[in-house]
């Protein structure tokens, strides 16, 4: 595709138009030569954040490896919507084994590739990416993931976090946020929704393994996501990218608001977007215009019980406190 320098400045948006950038700085998706690693025609819901995140992440990894990439995939939405035989959306070598073992399968792929490379050093090098949802990553696949981190195997693991087991009917995972309604944390009783004081933030646990690279991203900042994938592929060893991917089905949001919801998660401080190397924070994406958590919570049906006739101000305040803690901890107002 030819490059036409166009003088055109967007206003009223944080998006940098591709046309303002030099070709080498443009989004992978802006090129006609994009890989379409996960091709159109799959069965994801309208507005699926995971499908969007996977498309950008895997295509960026393909670009970084000149198309020499193998993917391992956990059981979950991404696996199910992309591949019922005989159809497959994957234009890259792809394997699904089980729900809880994707990191280990990727370790095996990396080991096999290392030996193949050793035996045939002139062959073009092939890299590995593993991917799963938050359930497959933070719950059932956590043991294998921690093992892969600890051994510092040459694998990029990408977690698409939509805060629950959406594929099976929206059940709670250890990444479900407090107060959120799921099929197993119903909005009933004296403390409706998911409990406070539970769950885990896996990027921090990944950092505790002191692996070379940990990053978080959202589908609201796709250029940031691409840059992080590119950076991850420059590094050897265990790398982890945790992408917040809103789920219209599980969150109860409009399918045309996926990117908006992701941006609100970041702008309220609910979801910190940062990069860390060897266990230390290296950068954080600053909040541009801080918003109260209500702005993020209110459009989501999974928090509807907080906004009845009488808003549950106590619970909302607790959620605001969590966002404020993220803002302090990751220096989200100033950026790093």
């Amino acid at each position: 595709m030819s490059f036409q320098p166009v003088k055109f400045y967007q206003t009223g948006t944080f998006t940098v138009g591709n046309r303002l950038l030099a070709p080498e700085e443009r989004s992978v998706q802006a090129s006609g030569k994009r890989f379409n690693s996960i091709n159109s025609g799959h069965r994801a819901c309208q507005g699926c954040g995971e499908a969007l995140g996977a498309r950008y992440a895997i295509d960026a990894a393909m670009e970084a490896t000149q198309g020499q990439l193998i993917a391992a995939n956990a059981t979950g939405c991404l696996e199910v919507f992309s591949t019922p035989y005989p159809e497959t959306s994957w234009q890259i070598p792809w394997i699904h084994s089980l729900f809880g073992n994707t990191a280990a399968v990727a370790t095996g792929i990396a080991a096999a590739l290392k030996i193949k490379q050793k035996k045939n050093p002139r062959a073009q090098e092939i890299r590995v990416v593993a991917q799963g949802g938050d359930g497959g990553t933070t719950d059932i696949g956590f043991g294998c993931l921690s093992g892969m981190f600890e051994r510092n195997d040459d694998v990029l693991y990408i977690c698409y976090d939509n805060g629950g087991y959406m594929n099976t009917g929206v059940q709670r995972s250890s990444a479900t946020p407090p107060a959120a309604r799921t099929a197993t944390t119903m909005a009933v009783g004296p403390e409706p929704g998911n409990a406070f004081g539970q769950g885990k933030f896996l990027p921090a646990i990944a950092m505790a393994h002191e692996i070379p690279y940990v990053a978080t991203a959202t589908v609201a900042d796709l250029r940031d996501l691409e840059a992080k994938v590119r950076r991850a592929m420059e590094i050897r060893g265990a790398r982890y990218i945790h992408i917040l991917v809103p789920c219209p089905l599980g969150w109860g949001t409009y399918s045309n608001e996926t990117i908006k919801m992701a941006r609100l998660a970041k702008e309220t401080g609910i979801f910190p977007v940062f990069e860390a190397e060897h266990g230390e924070i290296k950068s954080a994406l600053a909040i541009r215009r801080q918003l109260p958590v209500e702005d993020y919570l209110k459009p989501q049906k999974r928090y509807a019980h907080l906004f009845g006739k009488q808003p549950n101000v106590a619970v909302i305040a607790k959620l605001q406190a969590l966002a404020d803690r993220n803002i302090r901890k990751y220096k989200l107002l100033e950026g790093v």
Binding site: W94, N101, T107, G108
Partner: protein, 417 residues
């Protein structure tokens, strides 16, 4: 080359001769020296071009094996007992995906109660997982079967378990004839996968299959195992040509010609049985032994042929199908359906209980007179069992069964029979 070595080390050396490319192992649960030996060979580079990965669990071990095998690497791991059960989901997955992984199972008991000693409960619990299961009688056969297993697995694109008795074989020092590298290279060609993850030719492996084709996929897994029934004896013959000894095959009859009674078993207890049968033959009993080497696929036709002229068979097995009796026995009965044979199941050696010639002679003598119970627990301490049953009738809070039995026995530790 003849050498005196531990069973585990013999297997480690044989596996190394097969030029594996990825070895992954969770060494404990419980432990054998096999992967220690291999780990050392990779580290000191006597086994070059091989990745050795210390994983965090047996489940991860099999998962790593799945990844590397699907990427076209010859892959090996070893496990036993609880470890095999912990990896169960991945064990089924590996065969479902048609990945020719070779795995040693150092057969040991399954808890609770926790017990590290030998029986066949572990691999027999996985009898329907789609892997081939070959049982070794001796350390020599264990190492030979590994060499055959890689060839068999890769030819038919199915994973193979080589089962050898924990401790009795794995920890026993025996003389073995260790093959030369050139012999193994002549026998075992390079691995050519049927499917491989390769950017040059991208495929999706392991996607969902609905009711439209699931039955057919499963049938083909069965059909491939049935094909192996033909291939296993051929491989044993090819093996003999290069290595000069009999190892493997489907079954191994011993003094079965003209036998009225044939006792069937798997693994190292066949040695004890052969000695017992030799003695009983001298005393005039017409008795023979049938060793089953290939438990999966199960050689129905070969077993039926071996039993066609006898009057009765006794299946001596180190496993228990709780609620029915034997596992191997059930398979043997399938082979002899409508042959009109008397069949006895003898459960023996669970959790490492010694199987002695004395007990075997008494049991087989009884079987020869058709006075044996249909299901017999060899050397069961009936006094202890009945005491516990009585106690449970009269008391509600009887506590852990195992503790009560050991307290009654008055000793803590293995009992000497």
């Amino acid at each position: 080359m003849l050498k005196q070595c531990e069973g585990s080390h013999a297997v480690a050396e044989a596996v190394a001769l097969c030029r594996p490319e990825v070895i992954c192992a969770y060494p404990i649960s419980p432990q054998t020296h096999i992967v220690e030996g291999l780990g050392e060979m990779v580290k000191d580079e006597t086994l070059a071009d091989c990745e050795f990965i210390n994983v965090e669990s047996e489940f991860a071990a099999m998962s790593v094996a799945i990844g590397s095998s699907a990427t076209g690497a010859r892959t090996y791991t070893a496990t036993a007992s609880q470890g095999l059960l912990f990896m169960a989901e991945a064990v089924f997955n590996a065969s479902g995906l048609g990945l020719p992984i070779v795995m040693t199972v150092a057969n040991r008991a399954i808890g609770a109660p926790i017990n590290i000693w030998n029986d066949h409960s572990d691999s027999l619990s996985m009898r329907d997982c789609g892997w081939l299961q070959l049982f070794a009688e001796t350390n020599q056969e264990a190492l030979d079967l590994h060499i055959q297993a890689f060839k068999l697995a890769e030819e038919i694109s199915l994973p193979v378990m080589v089962c050898m008795d924990g401790f009795i074989l794995t920890h026993a020092y025996e003389r073995v004839d260790m093959p030369m590298q050139a012999q193994v290279d002549a026998f075992l060609p390079a691995y050519e996968p049927r499917q491989v993850l390769d950017p040059a030719e991208p495929v999706s492996i392991g996607a969902m299959v609905g009711p439209e084709a699931f039955m057919e996929v499963r049938y083909l897994a069965h059909a491939r195992q049935v094909q192996a029934l033909e291939r296993i004896p051929q491989l044993a013959a090819e093996f003999k040509e290069i290595f000069g000894r009999d190892s493997g095959g489907l079954i191994r009859p011993y003094r079965c010609e003209d036998a009225d009674t044939i006792v069937i078993a798997m693994g190292s207890v066949l040695g004890t049985l052969k000695d017992t049968v030799d003695e009983m033959r001298e005393a005039g009993h017409k008795i023979g032994v049938l060793g089953i080497i290939s438990f999966r696929p199960f050689p129905l036709v070969a077993v039926a042929a071996a039993l066609k002229d006898c009057k009765r068979f006794v299946v001596l097995e180190k496993s228990l199908a709780v609620g029915i009796g034997g596992i191997v026995a059930t398979n043997v009965r399938m082979a002899v359906t409508s042959m009109g044979l008397k069949g006895y199941t003898v459960i023996a050696g669970l959790g490492g209980r010694a199987i002695t010639m004395k007990s075997l002679t008494a049991m087989l003598d009884k079987a020869g007179r058709d006075e044996l119970d249909l299901v017999t627990f060899l050397d069961l301490d009936w006094k202890a069992v009945n005491k516990q049953i009585e106690r449970e009738k009269t008391h509600r809070k009887t506590g852990p069964v195992a503790e009560a039995l050991l307290r009654d026995a008055g000793i803590v530790g293995a009992r000497n029979y």
